[in-house]
């Protein structure tokens, strides 16, 4: 039990350090998509919802499973889709000179 805790803590701390290292080099141009992309990554909580489903054996468990799954799915699917929508608009000059202007929903 204590070995698990320490190996998990090591993973946690090292991931924090990797995160600091990778993110500090992102240009301010991309801060909004980056925040949205990071937001999508914490949608991994959907894995927690799946584990909850496997453990649930009572009505309260089913309700909690539903809540966790619904919230997590909105986070993970919405997060990736909206980040992709933002990033696909960042174009190189050649593409921007093309006359085709995409329909935008706004």
């Amino acid at each position: 039990m204590i070995e698990t805790l320490f190996s998990n803590l090591a993973i946690f701390v090292l991931s924090l350090l990797v995160g600091f290292e990778v993110i500090s080099k992102i240009p301010s141009t991309l801060h909004t998509p980056m925040m949205s992309g990071a937001n999508a990554i914490h949608g991994v909580i959907v894995a927690g919802a799946i584990v909850t489903a496997a453990l649930a054996d009572s009505p309260i468990g089913y309700v909690l499973t539903f809540i966790a799954a619904a919230l997590a799915a909105a986070n993970v699917f919405g997060g990736y889709v909206v980040t992709d929508r933002m990033l696909q608009m960042f174009r190189k000059p050649t593409a921007a000179n093309a006359p085709a202007r995409k329909e935008d929903p706004s």
Binding site: L5, F12, S28, A53
Partner: protein, 473 residues
């Protein structure tokens, strides 16, 4: 170690690598989209391997799997629909909303891990401590992010909301949350204590964000994003899931860095923002506003601006909050394109906190088909202002206030765009009202500055028509 455990461990490792590689690719506009897809691939692997291992080892009842599928379908379709229809100007509140649901999901997973064990084995502190932390942080980010989204959307007034004794209630909520948390770690069978932690944390999240001004809300969104990452990592500790620990820690680190960078660009400390203070985002509400010397300015017309633009060599557009609020990014891009087509060099000088979220202005311009090579960041832009014939400031104020170089005022020390280094300046603004910092901007009184008072969208349309007269003739 069974072959199954080995496979799952390997799959989680792969998904962790994909998350890091994905974030790494996001640091250049040309690879950023691929980075997001790589990260989504990591997510798919993590989810599929969790499903497989759960089915093979735990089983679970058909009811539970039904609830899971129903929840995934409901939440997933909500998320995808919102993500597809949202206007680019409304991105900040959507990011905040997705952050809220992530925090809520983390809290729900922790509560389930606690409740579903009540009748079984006794929970040791190795499990209960992360559960309590997860419920605490998850609930704070859930209610806090919802309030922040409401403020950005305008459903909740942007000005700081406070009531007598708010600070007492705040402290009380912290004490109750920590007290009940400690007690429930000691007696891990008491669901009521856990619910008290949940309720106190929800109240705390609301009270933490309500007193924060709308202009500071982006910093809070980023801070809450980091906290959600930590909540997810705690959930990972509670159910011993390494994919969740790694991803949560990455997001926690990312959110922290962004929050610090943002606060620096706004000349605020994170502490002073969280404690609430000035910064209402609404200039009229700022008490003790120093009046700008309105007599000593030079007003210009669309025609004046058009002549200057048509005969310039280097034009720099400085977009600010006013452009985002008026949704005038397409008009600005059209004007720039017209000038570029006639051989005039046009670039955009973008302050790190222009728009409503750091980097938001870049997204808005990208939406208007502006190639990212024309968007200059602070340092590049400041190098370019010296050779700039005309700087067209659209709805920006504090980010180009030369007083930031002098000590003793609200913007002192803030990194600014050196708009005053341009040979000539035109400022499109609705009125002489001061910006978010509530102080006058001497740039507007500079003899080389022309003021054009109008809504950004209308003004740009008029200038565009006027420019056409000169460049096509």
């Amino acid at each position: 170690m069974t072959p199954l455990e080995f496979t799952i461990g390997a799959a989680y490792l792969v998904s962790a690598i994909l998350f890091v590689v994905g974030l790494h690719l996001m640091r250049a506009p040309s690879t950023a989209r691929r980075g997001n897809l790589v990260s989504a691939g990591g997510m798919a692997i993590a989810v599929v391997s969790t499903v497989v291992t759960s089915l093979l080892t735990a089983g679970g009842s058909p009811w539970a799997w039904g609830a899971l599928i129903l929840g995934l379908a409901a939440g997933g379709s909500f998320g995808v629909i919102r993500a597809r229809v949202v206007k680019m100007t409304d991105i900040p509140q959507l990011v905040s909303l997705f952050n809220a649901v992530g925090g809520g999901a983390a809290a729900a997973v922790a509560i389930a891990a606690f409740v579903l064990h009540v009748n079984g084995t006794t929970l040791g502190p190795i499990v209960t401590v992360p559960i309590i932390l997860d419920v605490l942080i998850g609930a704070v980010t859930f209610s806090g992010s919802l309030i922040a989204a409401g403020k950005l959307q305008g459903v909740i007034p942007g000005k700081p909301i406070s009531f007598p004794g708010a600070r007492v209630v705040n402290v009380a909520a912290v004490i109750v949350a920590l007290g009940a948390g400690t007690l429930s770690i000691m007696s891990p069978h008491n669901v009521v204590l856990l619910l008290i932690v949940l309720a106190a944390a929800l109240v705390l999240g609301v009270l933490m964000v309500l007193p924060i001004g709308g202009a500071d809300a982006p910093v809070i969104v980023s801070l809450l994003n980091a906290l959600t990452g930590l909540a997810v990592a705690m959930a990972g500790f509670a159910i011993d899931n390494q994919a969740m620990i790694i991803a949560g820690a990455l997001v926690g680190a990312a959110g922290t860095i962004l929050t610090l960078q943002m606060a620096k660009a706004m000349n605020r400390s994170v502490g002073s923002i969280v404690l609430g203070g000035f910064g209402t985002g609404d200039s009229k509400a700022t008490a003790g506003t120093a009046d700008q010397d309105a007599a000593n300015i030079r007003q210009v017309t669309a025609d004046d601006v058009a002549i200057e633009l048509a005969y310039a060599q280097h034009v720099m557009i400085v977009p600010g909050y006013g452009l985002a609020a008026a949704q005038a990014q397409h008009e600005a891009a059209d004007l720039a394109k017209l000038l570029i087509d006639h051989g005039i060099d046009v670039t955009y000088a973008i302050h790190p906190v222009a728009g409503r979220l750091p980097g938001h202005m870049n997204v808005l311009l990208a939406e208007a088909n502006v190639p990212y090579t024309q968007m200059l960041q602070l340092d590049e832009a400041n190098a370019a202002f010296d050779s700039c014939d005309i700087a067209l400031v659209i709805g920006a104020n504090d980010v180009c206030n030369p007083d930031a170089r002098k000590p003793g005022n609200a913007v002192s020390g803030m990194p600014i765009l050196n708009v005053d280094h341009a040979k000539s300046v035109v400022v499109l603004k609705r009125s002489m009202n001061p910006g978010y910092a509530g102080i006058p901007n001497p740039l507007f009184n500079d003899p080389k500055t022309g003021m054009y008072f109008a809504d950004a969208r209308q003004a740009l349309d008029d200038i565009l028509i006027a420019v056409k007269e000169y460049v096509t003739a």
